[in-house]
């Protein structure tokens, strides 16, 4: 026989247990969903079809995923931007594009995971960073990427379009 006091205690306890059990059940449901639908919007992160887009979005994981899937850190990619390329489609290396978009993390990722500083444009990536006014990016490219020191940077053909100047495209 349950006394009124015991019944009250049980109601309080039941309420607490129900609240915690409901939340625990929510965890179970989320994990079942994760297993069943790993690409549902609860778990899937943005993905990109090109290195150019992933770099422009500063999405270092997506950029790396594309490299892992077979994209090259050194092959030229075609990029287009209303300001940076004045709307033209131009081929540049992923590293130069990362510098042009001023995204530090993709730059570091490319330097660590396969980008080779061999072409003249890549060697002048630090000059591009200077030209876009990003001293931090320029410094780390010189420190970790063995790129051109400031004094050896060629003068830009068009100061208003440093990326186009770097790759030798002029109006």
């Amino acid at each position: 026989m349950t006394t009124p006091l015991e019944r009250r205690q049980q109601v309080v306890a039941l309420g607490m247990i129900a609240a915690m059990a409901t939340l625990a059940l929510a965890v179970v449901l989320v994990e079942v969903e994760r297993w069943h639908q790993p690409l549902s919007r609860l778990f899937a992160y943005p993905s990109y079809s090109s290195l150019a887009d992933a770099i422009a979005a500063d999405d270092v994981e997506a950029t790396y995923a594309l490299l892992r899937a077979g994209a090259s850190a050194n092959d030229a990619i075609v990029v287009r931007d209303p300001a940076l390329t004045r709307g033209r489609s131009v081929p540049v290396s992923p590293l130069v594009w990362a510098v042009a978009t001023q995204h530090r993390r993709p730059v570091l990722m490319l330097l660590a995971h396969g980008a080779r500083i061999e072409s003249d444009a890549d060697k002048a990536a630090s000059c591009l960073a200077d030209a876009v006014g990003n001293a931090e990016l320029a410094a780390l490219l010189r420190k970790y990427g063995n790129t051109l020191p400031r004094e050896k940077c060629p003068p830009p053909r068009d100061a208003a379009a440093p990326l186009l100047s770097l790759i030798g495209v002029t109006d």
Binding site: V12, G15, M16, I17, A24, Y64, R105
Partner: protein, 461 residues
């Protein structure tokens, strides 16, 4: 037994998901590689037993050394190190529930809430960072020792208590907190805490402190940056500002660690929640943390003071626990005088969670006796408190996913600087290069993309 099973069923999802997340978490570049370099470079673990550094964790480093020098693949070594970190978390929750073993529905509710307190406290969460979970090793030892202390004295139990304390101290000095707790337990006539045990531990504690001071070389005044009010003070600035009279900042750091256990604020000495309120940028998770901690701490204080009042003639288990919590808090505060971090309150969190069980059980019993209106509001408050702490426990999983994600990003962007800066550390670079695969493996945990209103209740935006 059925209520223990019910509690286990409710906490199992959070615990299992937490452990699986930790298991799949990549090691970080920072800390982990240097730690493995330390153990890889020496041919014997003897060096780790010389207490010349400010961070003295001989058993932890010896365990890592044994794993690292075993004849096994890198994957096996890394997996074993993870086991060393995960096993104590599992053991902690299992022995915690086993110790409480609820017999009624009311006790089951209090046990479930107390377990959520254990998992949802910043003091545990901050100790989950692989491979730095030294204190996590000592946390289940707290429960084991507390269980032994409340059983009839036997020689093997005394030996077990001393051994467990030595293991805890060997993994991190925070284990020293157990010594004053156990001496107090003997003074409060806990059945398993004998005079011999108490004096043996005092002797160990005195010898340990003497050894540390004897070997003390030139340690910097401040080892790490400090949080003060709303801003961080870097070590050179702290030395310049407080070097002449550091006792105020020492007291501030100690009080910060204690307050973090009791109120989840400040964090590392920084009053983030207060700052958010001042700047009108309130985040739901901070408010949930602060309010649930304030309410629970108030309940613990009420229960503790009541238990002390009732223990004038004879010490009760409740009164002993309340005193142990107070000592553990003071101990955590004292040992974090140099800088405050959430993880430094880890040892007190176990006592806090145990006290939470008794306090919530007592409050629920009192609420049941109240007049109808008070009963309804009291019951609603308890249900909300339980939900808040369960949300915090689930939030711990999301925090762990954030750590995992941060570690993965480190492996993507931190390699170039390290290859350059550590060019003369061959062992470091060799380990780092070999660990890239585990750091960049697809499918490592990432924060769940909950709707914003859900995510805001658990983690920062």
């Amino acid at each position: 037994m059925k209520w223990t099973a019910a509690v286990s069923l409710i906490i199992a999802p959070v615990l299992i998901v937490l452990l699986v997340t930790l298991w799949r978490t990549p090691y970080p570049v920072t800390e982990a590689v240097a730690l493995f370099e330390d153990v890889a470079r020496v041919s014997s673990p003897a060096r780790f037993w010389v207490p010349e550094t400010s961070y003295y964790r001989p058993l932890f480093h010896s365990t890592l050394w044994a794993i690292w020098h075993a004849n096994s693949s890198l994957d096996t070594k890394l997996a074993l190190v993870k086991v060393v970190h995960l096993a104590p978390i599992l053991l902690l929750v299992v022995v915690f529930v086993w110790y409480l073993r609820p017999q009624t529905m009311a006790a089951a509710a209090a046990t479930t809430l107390a377990t959520a307190v254990l998992i949802g406290s910043p003091g545990l969460r901050d100790n989950l960072e692989i491979p730095l979970s030294y204190t996590a090793m000592a946390m289940p030892i707290v429960v084991l020792v507390w269980m032994l202390v409340h059983q009839p004295a036997q020689r093997w139990r005394s030996a077990a208590i001393v051994t467990l304390v030595l293991i805890a101290v060997g993994f991190k000095e925070q284990g020293l907190i157990l010594i004053p707790v156990l001496v107090a337990a003997w003074w409060m006539r806990a059945p398993g805490a004998t005079r011999t045990t108490a004096w043996t531990l005092v002797a160990i504690g005195v010898a340990y402190v003497a050894m540390r001071l004897l070997w003390r070389g030139k340690w910097p005044l401040f080892e790490q940056s400090l949080g003060l009010g709303f801003s961080i003070v870097e070590t050179p600035d702290a030395t310049a500002q407080f070097g002449a009279f550091p006792y105020f900042i020492f007291a501030y750091n100690s009080a910060s660690t204690i307050a973090n256990v009791l109120f989840s604020e400040p964090t590392s000495g920084l009053f983030y929640t207060l700052r958010d309120i001042v700047y009108n940028q309130i985040q739901a998770w901070r408010i949930i943390n602060l309010l649930s901690s304030i309410v629970l701490t108030a309940a613990i204080v009420w229960w503790g003071v009541s238990s002390l009042r009732g223990a004038r003639d004879q010490w009760t288990t409740d009164a002993r626990l309340f005193v142990a919590l107070a000592i553990a808090l003071l101990g955590c505060g004292a040992l974090s005088f140099d800088y405050s971090r959430d993880r430094l309150g880890g040892m007190a969190v176990v006592f806090y969670a145990l006290a939470a069980y008794h306090a919530v059980y007592a409050v629920a019993a009192r609420v049941a006796m109240a007049p109808r209106r008070l009963y309804v509001s009291g019951a609603a408050a308890l249900v909300m408190l339980a939900a808040a702490w369960e949300i915090r426990a689930i939030g711990t999983i999301e925090w762990t996913r954030r750590f995992a994600h941060r570690n993965e990003i480190e492996w993507l962007v931190e390699l170039a600087p390290r290859r350059s800066e550590f060019a003369d550390r061959r062992v470091y670079l060799d380990i780092m290069e070999r660990m890239i695969a585990q750091g960049t493996r697809p499918g490592s945990p990432k924060p769940t993309r909950y709707p914003q209103w859900v995510a805001r209740t658990m983690v920062p935006e």
